[in-house]
């Protein structure tokens, strides 16, 4: 909502500088988005009167005008189509520099000397209107400096009015707030209108068929109207706040709306049929063409304003072309009504129209302010157009909307705000905002809320009014008692934080990616029937909820690889979404991707490129570090992974998979290097965590350590060999680790060497070498039987 500094000054008295006003308004809840000084500069421009115009001998569009500027007459060549004898116009004299930088000089235009220039509003920097010269009011005196008659411009404030304050969509509402801040009175304009002898009843009968959608409809009739341009004061007000001046009647309806927040509509009475206005619902499928030339298909929620025969406006939203005020209009029917906010909002949304009018009605106008706006506009139209106002008002208001009464307790103010506000201050704040105290007691007031404040219905709303005007700055900052709840700690938060630390300490970077994806990318990770799509996406790239964290992570690999960084170790913890046919399943996952070289790469040790054992190592560490000992990795199949895929199983249940993304998927992401991954379902991991860890005694007796290397066929899996060793190692074999795998020249082809480190100990005694030798023999015998394994010499 735009408003000017001088406009506010005309409605109440205050001494705030523009900058202070901005601050005060912000601190009372009317945040000012911008402040714009017009700063017109017209040095050397005077008011002139066109006394004659003749055709230029060498042009079919130029005129030679004699212009009286008081002390003398100037001969000016002018190309504007709208220049007429008798007009008052702004004339830039020789030597004047216009705001655009143009310097006016005595010059010859096609052989005729011009002693100055008649200016357009654009040339003067007043508006963007440049198609013709600016025509001033007849009452302005020729010879006067332009600055003395139109001023140097106003200061425009753009206020961000919150949806709960429909009253502040009008200058009077904002001025009321300013008056409350300044401790001054609101001086709303006085109505002084002259009525004709003829009654409005002769011209129109009004009927409301749907009072639930239109609780009140009022109208006045103005005859004998002459449509012409608006005077300067009106044009200035409207154009400063961005509304283009049309003509005196339309401008008045717009002006009064911007002043009172009550939208108005003017019909050309002679285009209405049957001397009737009927307010009724549309029928499904009705068509109607609005002022802007667009045709809309209506439904039965839309409210129509009809004449005796047909619709002439969509109630509260926009008038129709069929009854629009034009240059030839002679008689006007002026509408001021109150419409149900919810219905206006639905209709505007359905039709995709948002007008100054609908924006006000849908927030809630003042049903009892309808007549003030009607009278104010009728008076101004009569004054500016020479019109005659018919006697009386047609006012259909079947069920009067009454003011509400709300109880306000002083103790409740203190409780909610944390500071006591003296009752005298409460009283004066409420009065300044237009509230009335209808009863008082030692504990509080009963307050009558004016109908222009539909947002105030409860005690808390009144307390907000008091807090606003009293000032949030006057409420102290108070500490709270530190501990007053025994709410359970969030165990997931704690565990997730631990996981994050473990993974970042292990060399992975934690990132976050978009939850919404391109559908094609999402479909690589879940069947199309399982994808969850947004009904109203902003673009195809944000159309589908991620079914996995992997597509987002791979996108980040692409981003970095394209910027010459291929060594990436990334993880994300976040929610993924799939549909099980009936409902959306939202679960938390942990996923990582690896590409490029492995984790250590320095001058001492070169790391080979990442492979599947790097992801497996991360997962194994993660499990061990969180005290999960019983896990296995089972070969598995996955639609987006190569054959090297492992299912991560804990206690017989799958908690996720790890592997290498296949080329088909990667090419869809424009990534052409190997990417290894794991993805684990968080809750599955969390439920396997053993949080109660019990102490195990540290062995008192020294261990016996042996290394054995065995030769087996390449196709014999190391895990099978290790399991066999465990099985035959006896009760004292406590630890087993594979420390070398070797294939090469010293070994016969088709074979590999597996080297294990075995640790034996007993909690009761020191083991003898002989016992251990015996056990090793058993192990080797079993390996020879089961795998044809031989001890490597």
């Amino acid at each position: 909502m735009k408003i000017t500094y001088n406009w506010l000054k005309s409605l109440t008295n205050f001494n705030f500088s523009p900058k202070e006003l901005v601050n005060r308004l912000t601190m009372v809840g009317l945040e000012v988005d911008s402040l714009n000084h017009q700063n017109w500069d017209f040095d050397g421009v005077v008011v002139g009167e066109v006394v004659s115009k003749t055709r230029h001998h060498d042009s079919d569009h130029l005129w030679i005008c004699d212009v009286n500027i008081g002390k003398r007459k100037l001969s000016v060549v002018c190309g504007a189509p709208n220049v007429e004898v008798g007009q008052k116009v702004p004339v830039a004299q020789e030597g004047t520099k216009l705001p655009g930088g143009l310097l006016i000089q005595r010059s010859k235009i096609r052989g005729v000397e011009s002693e100055g220039m008649i200016c357009s509003e654009a040339e003067l920097g007043i508006s963007s209107r440049g198609e013709g010269i600016m025509v001033l009011d007849d009452s302005m005196k020729f010879g006067a400096k332009l600055r003395d008659v139109i001023g140097s411009g106003d200061i425009v404030l753009d206020i961000d009015v919150t949806p709960n304050r429909p009253d502040c969509f009008g200058a009077i509402g904002i001025a009321r707030e300013v008056a409350a801040l300044a401790g001054s009175k609101l001086t709303a304009p006085k109505i002084r209108l002259k009525e004709d002898v003829q009654s409005i009843k002769k011209f129109v009968q009004i009927k409301i068929l749907n009072p639930e959608k239109c609780p009140r409809y009022t109208a006045r009739f103005i005859g004998n109207v002459e449509i012409k341009p608006s005077p300067w004061w009106l044009r200035q007000r409207l154009e400063a706040i961005g509304i283009r001046s049309i003509n005196n009647v339309v401008d008045v309806t717009n002006f009064v709306m911007m002043e009172t927040a009550q939208p108005l509509h003017a019909f050309d009475y002679d285009l209405l049929k049957g001397q009737r206005i009927v307010v009724k619902k549309a029928k499904n499928g009705d068509e109607f063409t609005t002022l802007d030339g667009k045709t809309h298909t209506l439904d039965s929620n839309c409210l129509l304003i009809c004449d005796g025969k047909r619709p002439v406006a969509i109630g509260g939203i926009m008038g129709g072309v069929n009854s629009e005020v034009s240059d030839s209009t002679k008689r006007v029917l002026l509408e001021s009504a109150y419409f149900d906010p919810v219905n206006i909002r639905r209709t505007a949304k359905k039709l995709g129209i948002s007008t100054e009018s609908s924006r006000r009605f849908e927030r809630g106008t003042d049903p009892n302010g309808v007549l003030f706006a009607l009278d104010r506009a009728a008076q101004l139209i009569a004054e500016l157009s020479g019109g005659k106002i018919a006697k009386g008002i047609s006012d259909v208001y079947p069920k009067r909307i009454k003011t509400k009464k709300v109880k306000l307790r002083f103790e409740r103010i203190r409780l909610l705000l944390g500071v006591a506000v003296p009752p005298t201050t409460v009283r004066s704040i409420l009065a300044s905002l237009g509230f009335t105290i209808v009863a008082k007691s030692p504990v509080g007031f009963t307050v009558e809320v004016p109908t222009f404040r539909p947002d105030v219905t409860r005690e808390a709303d009144l307390i907000e009014e008091i807090a606003r005007v009293h000032g949030f700055d006057n409420i102290p900052e108070e500490p709270m008692v530190a501990i007053n709840q025994l709410a359970p700690a969030n165990v997931h938060e704690q565990f997730l934080r631990t996981l994050k630390y473990q993974l970042t300490a292990g060399g992975l970077s934690e990132i976050l990616t978009y939850s919404l994806l391109n559908k094609k990318q999402a479909a690589c990770f879940a069947g199309a029937e399982r994808l969850v799509e947004v009904v109203n996406p902003i673009s195809v790239d944000f159309s589908t909820l991620r079914p996995s964290l992997l597509p987002g992570l791979v996108n980040i690999i692409r981003w970095n690889v394209n910027r010459k960084n291929r060594n990436l170790k990334l993880f994300e913890i976040g929610n993924v979404f799939t549909s099980d046919g009936n409902k959306i399943v939202e679960i938390k996952k942990i996923a990582a991707v690896l590409s490029g070289t492995g984790f250590y790469s320095n001058w001492k040790l070169k790391s080979p490129d990442c492979d599947i054992f790097d992801v497996r190592g991360i997962v194994e560490n993660l499990l061990r570090r969180n005290n999960i000992a019983e896990f296995v990795f089972k070969p598995a199949l996955s639609p987006y992974s190569k054959r090297t895929t492992l299912d991560i199983q804990v206690g017989g249940n799958s908690i996720g998979i790890l592997g290498e993304l296949n080329e088909e998927v990667l090419s869809g992401f424009d990534v052409d290097l190997p990417v290894f991954f794991f993805e684990i379902e968080y809750s599955n991991l969390h439920e396997k965590i053993n949080r109660w860890r019990l102490y195990q005694p540290i062995p008192k007796f020294p261990p016996v350590v042996r290394d054995i290397a065995v030769l087996v066929q390449e196709t014999v899996d190391a895990e099978l060999v290790a399991n066999d060793i465990r099985k035959n190692g006896g009760e004292f074999l406590k630890n087993l680790s594979l420390f070398d795998v070797f294939v090469g020249q010293q070994i016969e082809s088709g074979c590999k060497s597996l080297a294990f480190n075995l640790t034996f100990f007993s909690p009761q005694r020191t083991l003898t070498e002989q016992e251990v030798d015996l056990q090793i023999r058993r192990i080797l015998d079993s390996l020879a039987n089961n795998f044809l394994a031989r001890l490597r010499g």
Binding site: T162, P163, G418, K500, N560
Partner: protein
């Protein structure tokens, strides 16, 4: 004692000669340390010469200063070189180049700055007695709007452009639904924060992201006032951004709070004096807050006559952008390693 400049300079050059002869045949590291103390110590020979500076005229001082600094640098490099060669000689494995960079078995992982800010915010509030609550990102209209006093057809729904899914579900536009879910489960006192992802129909550009993060908070108890809200957000702001921070509250509108406010932090870059970053206002807008609206209590059956409360929101991206001076919100989601490695 009064000595002329030329006498002092003679003394300086004989000190240099003495140093040269004493370092000719140093064989032990103990002797090397003795020499270091003798020449470079706080009360050493060179320091003693510096003390004579006070006796000289303003024109003479720079000349002595220059001579002494030259000597000091010479002594320093000579002793360093002796130390290095002596250390190298000591090892049996031959020469060790100690200028090689350190090695470690793995690179460090970084953390996206948004997540760092989230952790920091959580830590501050848990320290203040709050617990962390979370909720689903796919929400119902009831929890996202209705139970927060935003009925269908309310103009406030225009404030938040929503992504809808089928079945009347939507992607939550704020983490406020967690407030309702918590109040449904529990009786006051309530003191929670709800961090998480939110979604709004914004096309990504430098200042908009369809996906963003919020941390919302809620306090409900007997006797909770607007003054407590001011105190809590001030304490939070100072813990996050320093003790000089001021917080400004001004009226606003949210359907779920009454009175409603927006709160601003004083600009941390100019201490509120006005600069480019705060657009000369001295304040940086953070988010909204207010006393919980009685209608919201109605949905969860809390008695507004007994309990009051406050709630606030906070955009994590906004705070991270302000704190780190990040000029484009998309950086947080691009995860360029050159960006991540700065934090």
């Amino acid at each position: 004692m009064s000595t002329s400049l030329s006498e002092i300079l003679t003394g300086v050059s004989s000190l240099r000669e003495q140093f040269e002869s004493q370092t000719k045949d140093v064989s032990s590291s103990e002797r090397l340390e003795e020499l270091r103390i003798k020449y470079l110590g706080r009360k050493g020979d060179i320091a003693n010469f510096f003390n004579l500076m006070g006796n000289l005229s303003a024109e003479e001082r720079p000349r002595l200063g220059e001579a002494l600094n030259l000597l000091k640098n010479h002594v320093q490099t000579s002793l360093d070189e002796l130390t290095r060669s002596m250390a190298a000689k000591k090892t049996d494995d031959g020469y060790i180049d100690l200028t090689l960079p350190g090695t470690y078995q793995q690179e460090v992982g970084y953390t996206n700055p948004l997540l760092q800010i989230m952790e920091e915010v959580k830590e501050i509030f848990t320290g203040m007695g709050f617990t962390v609550e979370t909720g689903p990102e796919v929400e119902s209209e009831y929890y996202n709007f209705e139970a927060l006093n935003v009925p269908a057809d309310h103009p406030a729904r225009d404030l938040q452009d929503t992504f809808y899914l089928s079945n009347g579900l939507l992607l939550r536009t704020h983490t406020s639904p967690v407030q309702v879910r918590t109040m449904e489960k529990r009786q006051p006192p309530i003191r929670i924060i709800a961090p998480g992802r939110c979604f709004r129909k914004d096309t990504p550009d430098a200042t908009h992201s369809p996906i963003f993060h919020q941390v919302e908070g809620l306090v409900v108890d007997k006797g909770i006032s607007f003054a407590h809200m001011k105190g809590t957000l001030l304490a939070f702001g100072r813990k996050l951004l320093g003790d000089k921070l001021r917080v400004r509250f001004h009226p606003s509108f949210y359907p779920f709070t009454e009175p409603s406010a927006d709160y601003d932090f004083s600009c941390v870059f100019c201490d509120g004096k006005g600069c480019r970053i705060c657009k000369n206002s001295g304040w940086i807008e953070i988010s909204g807050c207010g006393m919980v609206d009685p209608a919201v209590f109605g949905y969860v059956n809390y008695d507004y006559e007994i309990y009051t409360g406050f709630a606030w929101g906070m955009g994590v991206e906004r705070i991270a952008m302000m704190k780190y001076q990040v000029d484009d919100i998309r950086h947080f989601y691009e995860n360029d390693m050159r960006f991540l490695m700065q934090f």
